[in-house]
């Protein structure tokens, strides 16, 4: 009881509420601007938290993190420009929806599933942190290797149209991801002596280039379509639609929670895994990639499910799972707190006050997101001839902002041309992106495992987790082959 009053004392401070609200607003805004990432905003806000109370300080940063996770989806849906890497998956269905005049629906779907996923993720953080942290510790390089292998199988379900083209796209993505310094020997790979390439190809210029720029090129290449004066933003999401998506949202959230609890995988992978899982199970499979509301919901659930869960290894083990949580760890340390088992013994009230604040942030996200949608959805009504030049300007500034290098502007436009050629030849961009993200993880964990075991291959089958992922990897491939023949038979019969 005594504890409870202490918790409430720590939590019920006006500073905390201001910090959360401010954090979410900053996060949504920054997240929605291409090139400006939640990571940057968190890093910039960190010095301001030095003088704040610890609870308010952490909540501000967590608020930015969560807001940023959602904010990225806004521009992904409206202008095909993912504000953050994790929202790249959202645009696969979000942008087509906006093009069909359902911008508002897509935005609402993204918001609702983000909030629900966020909530589920928080629950997991509060009640299952200890259990999930144990899984995280048992997740070594070989387990990671199989998780990545399983994740690679989602390329099969993302390769809409031609399987061969999808696999080619993924291979090209893997190839480009290998540019840079070799992670084991430090030798150069396909950098051609260019220093700008040594840290490998920057992700955000690639992302913007691949998705936003082809739209712009196409617009200026195409015959002009007279602008139709109609409200393009459309209506919101109905309750029935939300209900229909609910299963995918919950599943996506759980995927996000598990991926988030394992340090080092990231929200982008979670979004794609959730998306492909939803697609595999959905009765509207054919509509995925063409503007399916469930696709938007699944993608956003996956990436927001990660947010709360990344705090699990941080709080319970003192291990930051990504750059943002590393910064939050820094904020804890600035206030003389060291996350980890000791904090649960010494500062339990503070942790519970944080939990309350984190739960509250989901609610704030709903309110702020709703307000944002109201104004942002107006973007869908702006004629493209005015909108696109301004989008291009944002893309250029954003690409530059990532590393403060003009080289990244070149890179972005080059990938714009690649993306345009992909569209013209029917090579899908999503598998390319998956290959680019997972390629280095695949290679690193393979080699890491071999280094740990000193070349002994038996490390790849060392425990139940590896067997589990081996089983679902091959299961997933077998399912895809079965599906392929079934579809072909069905086609033959109908012919």
């Amino acid at each position: 009881m005594e504890n409870l009053t202490e918790v409430l004392q720590l939590f019920l401070s006006i500073d905390n509420f201001i910090a959360i609200a401010l954090g979410v607003v900053i996060g949504v805004t920054v997240g929605s601007i291409p090139g400006l990432t939640a990571t940057m905003a968190v890093a910039l806000a960190l010095p301001f938290t030095f003088s704040m109370q610890p609870v308010a300080a952490i909540l501000l940063l967590v608020g930015i993190y969560k807001g940023g996770m959602y904010g990225g989806s806004i521009t992904a849906i409206l202008i095909r420009t993912p504000g953050s890497p994790a929202s790249a998956c959202t645009l696969l269905d979000g942008y087509p929806m906006a093009q069909q005049g359902n911008a508002k629906k897509a935005l609402k779907a993204a918001l609702f599933s983000s909030v629900i996923a966020d909530f589920i993720s928080n629950i997991a953080l509060i009640f299952f942190a200890a259990y999930l942290a144990k899984i995280a510790l048992n997740f070594g390089a070989p387990e990671f290797f199989w998780l990545i292998c399983f994740s690679l199988t989602i390329i099969i379900s993302l390769a809409s149209g031609s399987m061969v083209k999808g696999l080619l796209a993924a291979l090209l993505g893997i190839l480009l991801s290998l540019v840079g310094l070799d992670s084991v020997f430090g030798s150069q790979r396909l950098t051609f002596g260019n220093y700008n390439l040594m840290d490998s190809i920057s992700f955000i210029p690639l992302l913007i280039g691949l998705f936003a720029i082809p739209e712009i090129i196409e617009f200026y290449r195409k015959k002009a379509i007279p602008h139709i004066k109609a409200k393009a933003s459309g209506v919101g999401m109905t309750l029935a639609e939300l209900k229909r998506c609910m299963k995918s949202i919950v599943r996506g959230s759980l995927i996000g929670v598990i991926i988030g609890a394992i340090p080092g995988t990231g929200a982008t992978a979670a979004a794609f895994i959730s998306y492909s899982d939803a697609r595999r199970r959905s009765p509207n499979k054919a509509n995925f990639g063409k503007g399916e509301v469930e696709g938007v919901a699944a993608a956003e659930a996956g990436n927001n499910g990660v947010a709360g869960a990344t705090l699990i290894p941080l709080l319970s083990l003192g291990i930051p799972g990504d750059v943002i949580t590393a910064i939050i760890l820094g904020a804890f340390m600035v206030h003389g707190l060291t996350p980890g088992p000791i904090m649960f013994q010494e500062n339990l009230s503070l942790i519970y006050a944080l939990f309350l604040g984190i739960m509250f942030s989901s609610l704030i996200l709903l309110v702020v997101g709703n307000a944002a949608i109201k104004y942002f959805s107006l973007i869908a009504d702006i004629p493209k001839s005015i909108l696109f030049p301004i989008v291009l300007m944002f893309c250029v500034y954003g690409a530059y902002a990532v590393n403060n290098m003009t080289f990244d502007i070149w890179l972005m436009l080059a990938f714009g041309v690649v993306g345009y050629l992909f569209n013209r030849t029917g090579i899908p961009a999503a598998p390319f992106l998956i290959g680019f993200i997972l390629g280095p993880m695949f290679e690193d964990n393979l080699r890491r495992s071999l280094l740990i075991s000193n070349g002994d291959m038996s490390i790849f089958v060392r425990g139940p987790i590896t067997w589990f992922f081996i089983a679902i990897t091959f299961g997933s491939i077998a399912f895809a082959i079965f599906r392929f023949f079934k579809d072909r038979n069905a086609k033959l019969i109908s012919n």
Binding site: L46, F50, L137, Y195, D199, V323, V334, N403
Partner: protein, 328 residues
């Protein structure tokens, strides 16, 4: 002007402050004449970035001008440093937070467009973070010597946060000096490396103090030694590697050092004003508290001594990189 922090008593402190004040008033007319830029050759959010922002914040008061932090990440720290080396219009008001990346980068990257020593002036070493040799709690090795003896016939895996990090190079240095059988296992940052260490997948690591301090305290990791020249006040019971004395370890002194450098066209009055300002910053309680949270110690060298320190550091890493086959 050798500065040993433990030796500063109140009188010396106020004397230094007076001196600092007189220098800064003498040179305030000439430098700074505008905003000062502090280039951080790493991405936002890393140790170097957090540290730089903290220092910039305190420098603002000491210099009485705006100090703008600018991240120029890429290729170790060589892209940001290369930019500074090119000089240019603002070179007289631009500083850079150098770290082991400065010397290790120069040791492992081929054909750098700059000379890591001659192209810069070395103002002051601001902070030193020791690395700690840690093993998982379940590890059978209780001391460094036991570890080395076991490593003569068993191959030990050590985790590090990326090729060319001070953690990686410390491991390679240990391997070279002691003749142990060790394999470097790279991870994407210390955060990703920690679970492998806690879970016992790797045998040892030479992690930065702030990363592992809480795990040492909680008993999940066991500290065998620290890499700094003197024992760390935060882990007083843990020996330094150099005091072990056997297996050539007396040569093993290395820290993750951070210090301010500038282009070699940096004006003399700026150099003096910066040293005075840094002296002031490093005596501020906020700074000392911050250093304590990092398990770090305020820097020990400045000016020519700092330059010599960098030269020695560079020579050492060049040798280690060559032995480990990392240099290209």
């Amino acid at each position: 002007m050798k500065k040993i922090f433990s030796a500063t008593c109140i009188a010396a402190c106020s004397g230094a402050l007076l001196l600092a004040a007189s220098i800064s008033t003498a040179s305030a007319a000439e430098w700074p004449t505008g905003d000062v830029r502090l280039v951080v050759p790493y991405a936002p959010g890393g140790t170097t970035d957090v540290l730089s922002r903290r220092v910039a914040d305190l420098l603002k008061d000491a210099l009485d001008t705006n100090v703008i932090v600018e991240n120029r990440p890429g290729a170790g720290s060589t892209i940001g440093t290369g930019r500074l080396a090119r000089g240019g219009r603002d070179a007289d008001h631009t500083l850079l937070m150098a770290s082991p990346g400065h010397t290790i980068g120069a040791a492992i990257y081929p054909d750098l467009a700059y000379d890591p020593v001659e192209d810069f002036v070395f103002i002051q070493n601001v902070i030193d973070i020791p690395n700690v040799m840690v093993v998982p709690a379940s590890s059978p090795y209780q001391s460094v010597v036991e570890f080395i003896e076991a490593a003569q016939d068993k191959n030990m895996a050590f985790s590090h946060s990326g090729v060319g990090s001070s953690i990686h190079m410390s491991g390679e240095l240990f391997k070279t000096l002691t003749g142990s059988q060790m394999t470097a296992v790279p991870f994407a940052g210390s955060g990703a490396a920690l679970p492998a260490l806690l879970g016992g997948d790797v045998d040892v690591s030479f992690e930065n103090m702030p990363t592992v301090y809480s795990h040492i305290k909680s008993g999940d990791l066991r500290a065998l030694a620290v890499t700094s020249a003197e024992r760390s006040p935060y882990l007083p019971e843990v020996p330094t590697l150099s005091e072990i004395g056997e297996h050539n370890l007396d040569q093993f002194v290395t820290t993750a050092w951070f210090g301010l450098i500038a282009h070699n066209s940096f004006p003399e009055e700026g150099y003096e004003a910066m040293q005075a300002a840094l002296d002031e910053v490093m005596e501020r309680q906020e700074f000392l508290d911050f250093a304590e949270q990092l398990g770090a110690q305020p820097g020990q060298v400045e000016g020519e001594e700092f330059k010599q320190f960098v030269i020695d550091d560079l020579a050492r890493w060049e040798e280690v990189a060559q032995q480990a086959g990392i240099s290209q």
